[in-house]
């Protein structure tokens, strides 16, 4: 078997395709690195400036007392840019990088979280092209390379008659197949490894990008996923090559399959899926919002009229907190509806290996929709923490009336600005693994099925 692998390897290494693919991948990876070095520092700078501003505002508010802290809220919360932006960034410009907190100073209404919509760039009238990130390089180019290395692996040897010669030696067929597979795998991995290492070398030598141990671990996982993805296309190439008599036909079939699954399937399936499942429309949301608003107002008015003077404060406080909580809940639900529709469409696109790869790379690079949802969860957890903090501080003051929502009901003592909880967005690799597990298994399943298919096809075929 090693003999066959070696022979395949030498064959491939000397061929034109090896040289061409190496040049192509190197060029793309260098572009990718240059782009990241230029853009990442700007992103990080923007994030840091925004966070500092937010923090200063929070400190200023804390100094004016507990009520303004409770009413105005923590300010805008920002999503931390991932250092692995260069691996997958396709969706990132579209997803909002923050969660707003609204409050109304005059109406003395309380703060609530407001989730911005996807920001569609209406000013871009230029051509819409895919970004050169690892998802593109692996998903499109590497898969194409894998097919080009395998489309004639069996069919051309059969055409030339060398396959018969090889099998005339007492070598079992599966050994030949595995040898060919390994040979192709190594010869596609070499240019990719080379290009990726050059990319990482450029990135790590640049002083502006800092990759920590966790980031390197993630890159390692992304490498493994890339290998798995390459295996999938190699297996597909071998399968078709074993079934089809002539290599020209095998190439046409493979390229059409590639175009269908990699280029068109993700968007076509997504469009199909999203047309079947409808989300909550904006006017529906507005309607529900209006309804809950009027209901609250009604109950509040009644209790306002019926209550005596000392209770008014309590009821007013309740009204303010209820309003904020109700609106925040509705906004959250609206976002969940929208995201759920996208998630359903994404689940269906998982039939396409390219879409699978994109989801996996996004999950491990810390970009994309899953990461955005993680960020939203972080924000919601922080919002709870923040509100609890206000309650705790208030409880610590014996002079306070302990009525949330009104100035008179809260502690009047100054608040230590240091003690106010600060928001910090974090990435959690364990969570990423959990969300990606299904997709990882699906990708492995595809590889195994295709490999088994290639084996069966090759064992049963006449030579």
């Amino acid at each position: 078997m090693w003999h066959i692998t070696k022979r395949e390897l030498y064959n491939n290494l000397n061929s034109l395709r090896f040289a061409l693919t190496t040049v192509l991948l190197l060029g793309l990876m260098v572009t990718n690195a240059v782009r990241h070095i230029r853009e990442h520092p700007k992103r990080v700078q923007k994030y840091h400036n925004a966070v500092t501003e937010s923090m200063n505002r929070l400190t200023a508010i804390a100094e004016t007392g507990l009520y303004s802290l409770a009413q105005r809220g923590p300010g805008i919360l920002y999503k931390k840019p991932s250092p692995l932006h260069f691996c997958a960034e396709g969706e990132e410009p579209l997803l909002p990088d923050r969660v707003d907190t609204f409050y109304n100073r005059n109406g003395r209404r309380f703060w609530r979280l407001a989730y911005p919509d996807a920001n569609i760039n209406m000013t871009n009238v230029g051509p819409d092209v895919s970004q050169i990130d690892w998802t593109f390089i692996i998903g499109y180019i590497l898969s194409l390379i894998a097919l080009i290395f395998t489309f004639d692996a069996i069919s051309s040897e059969r055409e030339h008659g060398t396959l018969r010669l090889t099998l005339a030696n007492a070598i079992p067929r599966h050994t030949v197949l595995i040898g060919k597979f390994l040979g192709a795998l190594i010869s596609t991995t070499i240019p990719f490894m080379l290009a990726a290492l050059v990319n990482l070398l450029i990135l790590s030598s640049a002083s502006v990008v800092h990759l920590n141990t966790q980031a390197w671990g993630r890159i390692g996982i992304i490498f493994c996923i890339a290998l798995l993805y390459t295996c999938l296309f190699l297996a597909l190439g071998l399968l078709v090559s074993a079934r089809v008599q002539r290599s020209a036909v095998s190439l046409v079939i493979l390229l059409l399959t590639w175009v269908t699954f990699v280029v068109f399937m993700p968007s076509t399936l997504a469009a199909l899926a999203s047309s079947f499942s409808s989300s909550m429309a904006y006017y529906e949301y507005e309607e529900r919002y209006g309804q809950s608003h009027t209901e609250l107002r009604k109950t509040w008015r009644i209790s306002w009229r019926e209550s005596k003077d000392e209770e008014v404060l309590r009821i007013r406080g309740e009204w303010h907190t209820e309003m904020a909580a109700g609106e925040e809940r509705l906004r959250g639900e609206y976002l969940t509806f929208k995201v759920a529709q996208v998630q359903r469409a994404r689940a269906i696109t998982s039939i396409s290996p390219a879409a699978l790869l994109q989801h996996l790379l996004e999950a491990f690079a810390g970009t994309g929709l899953d990461r955005h949802q993680q960020f939203i969860e972080n924000v919601q957890r922080y919002a709870r923490e923040y509100r609890e903090f206000v309650v705790d501080v208030d409880r610590g003051d014996p002079e306070s009336l302990h009525i949330m929502g009104v100035r008179e009901g809260l502690s009047q003592k100054p608040v230590n600005p240091e003690a106010v909880p600060k928001f910090e967005d974090t990435l959690n690799i364990g969570k990423d693994f959990n969300t990606a597990a299904t997709e990882l298994l699906l990708l492995s399943l595809f590889v195994v099925v295709l490999l088994a298919g290639a084996y069966l096809a090759f064992v049963r075929v006449e030579i």
């Binding site: 034109l16 061409l20 968007s267 469009a271 199909l272 999203s274 929709l369």
Partner: protein, 500 residues
């Protein structure tokens, strides 16, 4: 002789299994995507219809002249199924009033759909043709000469007294005939699906546009076939030709467009231009404000706040919008108020005030628009055009741009709509002048009933003529043709001088 060769080539191409596979694959993809695209178009159309209806109701609810704000919607272009272009991506709803001239950059989307769905890239029929047909052309061409040379049949053919030019021509004609077959068949299938769906109504103009798209598709196909043929003539072995073709294909179709946009984004920075434009706009409004305050100081009403003296309920909108990044700047002053009984003697002065300020305000708004338009076009359009020009080295991009222009979904097509809206705003202003609206009481007061909007001029917009689209596409088509001719000449010359 030419005919015999063509027949041989045709048969050799048509009878192959790879042709069958390619044909079936293309047709399947086209059919599935057309169904999806038609469905998408129908949804956009429904959303457009609801939005227009809602907005036309809003117009008649304005109770005074000054509070009139008109929202207009852009209908989806049925040919966006062929090339989506900017039709889906840009905003399709725009609003204006007498103090705001809308530009391209103030559009919004109907709020009916889920913006997160834009995470998925969209497909159109031209993308399918662009990717698959170029691939097929290269697959057919790579072994046309190199394959025959390897097999020795080329030498055999030339042993008969056939000139080399005839062989080349025969190969080109027959391959093009074969490749056109899937194009024409998929177009027919698309048209059949259109007629089944029933929601897509094509005008005579649209048929011409589809014809233009077919023509460009054929020229594009021919360009890629000739690239393949050139490679096939140059290389000794078919396998080498194939590798070269694949690399060139992936570079031209997949990689190069991304690279050129990346390069333009790197080189282009335009923040300073906006700053100077913003200062200019601020000056325009300062001058207006000086005039206004001068008038108020000299008239007979006490104090400088009109509302305090005359207002009796109703709504007042006096606010100031400014945004340095979109260059949005205006001082709005709209009223829909009741009048205090004791303020009745002041009415002539108030009318005089509006008669003085509003034409000036409109002039300021128009001058703002001129500055804005120029500055924003500098920033956004020039950048896009640079990226486009750089992309034009790839025939695939040229194909995309040319079909976009024919379909009317390019920037010019969308701009036509904006221009129509701007003209409509002008007719509304003229209508105000005709009715002497600025000096009328109904400009600000609603106490004498709502304005009668029944004779308000209606907005109508028709897409530009097909000849305009053809004109915008002509540069790209000429370029594609030039590429064709140059490639054919090169192939021919190299093939003539080559040893077989």
């Amino acid at each position: 002789m030419l005919l015999i060769l063509i027949r041989r080539e045709l048969l050799a191409n048509l009878m192959t299994f790879r042709f069958l596979v390619a044909m079936v694959g293309t047709l399947l993809l086209v059919v599935v995507n057309t169904v999806v695209l038609i469905d998408d178009y129908e949804r956009r159309l429904t959303s457009y219809n609801t939005a227009t209806q809602q907005h036309s109701e809003e117009v008649s609810s304005a109770s005074t002249y000054s509070s009139l704000e008109i929202h207009l919607d852009r209908s989806p272009n049925p040919l966006s199924i062929f090339n989506a272009g900017l039709d889906r991506r840009l905003g399709n709803s725009i609003s204006f009033s007498h103090i705001l001239v809308p530009t391209h950059w103030d559009t919004e989307s109907h709020s009916a759909d889920n913006p997160f769905l834009n995470l998925f890239s969209s497909v159109d029929l031209i993308l399918i043709f662009q990717v698959i047909l170029s691939l097929l052309a290269l697959l057919f061409a790579h072994d046309a000469i190199a394959g025959e040379r390897e097999a020795g049949t080329l030498r055999l053919t030339m042993a008969n007294s056939v000139s080399r030019s005839v062989i080349l021509l025969a190969k080109y004609i027959s391959a093009m005939a074969c490749l056109m077959l899937p194009v024409i068949m998929s177009l027919l299938l698309v048209l059949i699906l259109f007629s089944i769906s029933g929601s897509i109504l094509l005008s005579g103009d649209d048929w011409l546009r589809i014809g233009g798209i077919l023509l460009i598709s054929i020229i594009y196909l021919s360009a890629f076939y000739l690239i393949g043929l050139l490679i096939s003539v140059i290389t000794r072995r078919a396998a080498t030709a194939l590798m070269l073709s694949m690399v060139i294909w992936s570079t031209l179709v997949l990689i190069y467009p991304s690279l050129s946009v990346f390069a333009v984004n790197r080189l282009w920075d335009t923040s300073s231009q906006l700053e100077s434009a913003y200062r200019e706009i601020e000056q325009i409004w300062e001058a207006f404000e000086r005039d206004r305050m001068g008038f108020l100081r000299n008239d007979e009403i006490e104090g400088e706040d009109l509302n305090a003296n005359i207002r009796y309920g109703g709504t007042v909108g006096t606010f100031h919008t400014s945004n340095p990044t979109t260059l949005m700047y205006s001082k709005v002053e709209t009223r829909s108020i009741g009048i205090k009984p004791e303020a009745e003697p002041l009415m002539p002065h108030v009318k005089a005030y509006f008669q003085f300020t509003e034409p000036r305000r409109i002039r300021a708004a128009e001058r703002t628009w001129q500055v804005r338009q120029k500055a924003l076009d500098q920033v956004h359009v020039r950048k896009a055009n640079m990226a486009k020009n750089l992309m034009r080295f790839s025939p695939a991009a040229m194909y995309d741009f040319a079909t976009e222009a024919w379909a009317g979904t390019d920037f010019h097509g969308i701009e036509d709509f904006i221009t129509a809206v701007q003209q409509y705003r002008q007719t509304i202003i003229d209508y105000f002048y005709d009715k002497a609206a600025f000096s009328s009481r109904q400009w600000f007061a609603k106490d004498q009933g709502k304005v009668d909007w029944s004779d308000l001029p209606q907005f109508s917009y028709h897409r530009a003529d097909v000849s305009i689209g053809a004109k915008h596409a002509s540069g790209d088509i000429a370029c594609l043709l030039l590429i064709n001719i140059v490639l054919f000449m090169m192939t021919f010359l190299i093939f003539l001088r080559q040893e077989v």
